[in-house]
């Protein structure tokens, strides 16, 4: 079977099995996606950052926490590729380890938020009536808060740290997904295929889980990817304000906050982590734009 996976097998007009049809469709989407230069660039950057973060212990030239006060605020050199910070810690190593924190936070938020938003939206859209009204009202209330401000208040009430920051961002990030999933569900609810499934005696939960939710996925993926960029920015913003990851941790926003006072003389110390945030955020935006063109053409 493995040897059967060729270009022809994937692009076959008459797939012999469901999996062949599914993989063929994915392959065609990939071919379409590959034509977007900028989106491919975004994908490459993300893959690069993921690999670098995963291999951080191998790639880092020094321990990210090791202080060397004799070599504080050193400019980039052979020993310290990107220079050192105010405690003589190696900036390159901290940057590499910081990627783990940022990507970890993004992943945690998405894992918390996407299924929850999807569930709320699908249930509201499919059930209709009072359930729909109540769920959408709650969604609107959370949408009414500006994201960063609500996240700040929430983190302040809990304890500043990575976990609270993730939880706070998740709390403010789910409503758009619920809205989106509800809108999609409403378009499928009264279609013939759903009526047919219902006639065969499928339960409401089976219809939502097996037939409606999967159809909401493609627009959800686009939205999640575009959102990842703003999650990166919010996480860094919380870190910068001292409400996210706490100082010894090499989180990029926190690194900028502690290096802020050296801006005028040793400008690269706060600028380098800033650049890292920008590149990752831009990459998610580019990737999301490309995915939108491929997966959700009616949106673009």
């Amino acid at each position: 079977m493995v040897s059967g996976i060729t270009r022809d097998w994937l692009l076959s007009d008459s797939p012999a099995s469901r999996s062949q049809a599914a993989w063929g469709r994915r392959y065609r989407l990939w071919l379409q996606f590959r034509r977007h230069g900028l989106a491919m660039a975004g994908l490459c950057v993300i893959v690069f950052v993921v690999v670098v973060s995963a291999l951080a212990p191998v790639l880092a030239t020094q321990n990210p926490g090791a202080q060397d006060l004799a070599a504080r605020l050193a400019p980039p050199s052979a020993a310290h590729w990107l220079g050192t910070d105010e405690l003589g810690r190696d900036l390159f190593s901290r940057l590499v380890y910081g990627g783990r924190i940022t990507l970890g936070m993004v992943l945690a938020v998405v894992v918390l938020v996407a299924p929850f938003g999807l569930a709320v939206g699908c249930v509201a859209g499919y059930a209709g009536g009072i359930a729909d009204k109540v769920l959408m009202r709650v969604t609107d209330i959370f949408l009414a808060f500006p994201r960063l401000v609500l996240a700040l208040a929430f983190v302040a009430a809990m304890k500043p740290g990575v976990e609270s920051a993730v939880f706070a961002i998740a709390l403010t990030a789910w409503p758009p997904y619920a809205r989106l999933a509800r809108a999609e569900t409403l378009t499928f609810r009264n279609t013939d295929f759903v009526a047919a499934v219902r006639l065969t005696g499928a339960s409401a939960s089976r219809i939502v889980l097996r037939h409606i939710a999967p159809l909401c996925l493609s627009s959800l993926i686009v939205r999640v990817t575009l959102d990842m960029s703003s999650i990166v920015l919010t996480a860094a913003g919380l870190g910068f304000l001292g409400m996210g990851a706490q100082p010894p941790s090499p989180e990029w926003g926190a690194m900028i906050a502690s290096a802020r006072r050296f801006l005028l003389d040793e400008w690269w110390v706060p600028t380098i982590p800033g650049l890292a945030i920008f590149v990752v955020s831009l990459a998610f935006n580019l990737l999301g734009d490309g995915l939108r063109d491929v997966l959700d053409p009616k949106q673009s």
Partner: protein, 337 residues
């Protein structure tokens, strides 16, 4: 007009529910905090019976629904509690700090409109051209830069290296508290007082943070304007107008832009609400004494009354702006009526 009356009636019902929800969220956040509010006021050396008495005085021994009812009653009276940090009522503090934020956000909004709208229009008119691509890339970078990094780099370049801009804060030390406060907007107040040196100083201090804050909205406004214009320019009435031999400028501005203006108003209202949020970080970097800085300083001092009060006020402004955008849209667009 009947539909817009109905929309208004709908808003009259839904807005209070949303506001009540906002209050419930801030109330619950205030209750989950691990810091004991009684200990925060008295300190942990206070005798047992004083702590117990204060707890009863503050109503913290009551069931949560009753506490929430009390909280709402206080809110209705404009009472957000006292700030531990400034020892003033939070309402007074907010009234004192909010004008600076309004001044900053409004200036940013004006800059963003003046640059963003023409950028979007020209990008749409010359779709696929080099200008269009430049605008698209600019919009993407605008969405991807962390605001504090941009603010810091701007300080580095325009203040430290070039010396074009004054430093942080709202006015130089010499001009501080020189102008009688009328509106709370320093530029307007100094104009009213006829103190032109003070006005120039205030404007110079305003320009840099407002420019940084505007950057993000320029991207958003340009992107939305471009999308709306592309839609409008593909209309058949544009072909008709061309066939009649109207000039390009007249077609673009009078016919196409005239048709998207209503939709753009909604975008602008939402942008303004977003600027209030962006102001939190911008104000922190530029030491701009507005609501955002008040919020972050209170956060670092665990001054929960101030934090929740400021959060509630920003949420309220957000809801009202959203409502306004919706109503303007319904009133001006005949298709929704």
């Amino acid at each position: 007009m009947r539909a817009s009356v109905r929309a208004l009636a709908g808003a009259v019902v839904t807005v209070p529910i949303t506001l009540l929800g906002l209050a419930l969220v801030t109330f619950l956040i205030g209750r989950v905090m691990p810091i004991d509010p009684v200990l925060a006021i008295l300190g942990d050396r206070a005798p047992e019976e004083v702590i117990a008495r204060t707890r009863i005085e503050m109503g913290l021994d009551r069931p949560l629904p009753i506490q929430f009812f009390r909280y709402i009653t206080q809110l209705m009276h404009g009472d957000l509690g006292n700030s531990v940090m400034t020892s003033h009522p939070v309402t007074e503090d907010i009234a004192h700090f909010f004008p600076a934020t309004i001044e900053l956000a409004t200036t940013a909004m004006l800059i963003a409109m003046l640059i963003g709208i023409p950028l979007g229009v020209f990008a749409a008119v010359r779709q696929g051209s080099r200008l269009d691509n430049v605008v698209r890339v600019f919009c993407l970078t605008g969405q991807s830069v962390p605001v504090f990094v941009l603010a810091m780099l701007s300080l580095l370049v325009f203040y430290a290296r070039l010396g074009w801009a004054p430093g942080t804060g709202r006015a130089d030390v010499v001009f501080q508290d020189m102008v009688p406060e009328n509106t709370g907007l320093l530029t307007v107040d100094s104009m009213i007082a006829g103190d032109w040196d003070s006005f120039r100083d205030a404007l110079a201090h305003l320009a840099q943070p407002a420019g940084v804050l505007a950057w993000f909205s320029i991207a958003y406004i340009a992107r939305m304007t471009r999308a709306f214009m592309l839609d409008a320019l593909s209309g058949e009435y544009i072909i008709t107008a061309r066939a009649k031999g109207l000039s390009a400028a007249r077609i673009i501005w009078r016919h196409a832009f005239g048709n998207i203006a209503v939709r753009l108003v909604t975008v602008l209202a939402l942008t303004y609400a977003g600027l209030l949020e962006g102001a939190v970080i911008t104000e922190t970097v530029f030491s701009w004494p507005g609501l955002g800085q008040y919020l972050t300083v209170s956060l670092l001092n665990a001054d929960m009354n101030a934090v929740l009060g400021a959060t509630l006020v920003v949420g309220l402004v957000y809801v009202v702006l959203n409502l306004l955008a919706d109503m303007i849209y319904r009133m001006l667009d005949p298709r929704v009526r």
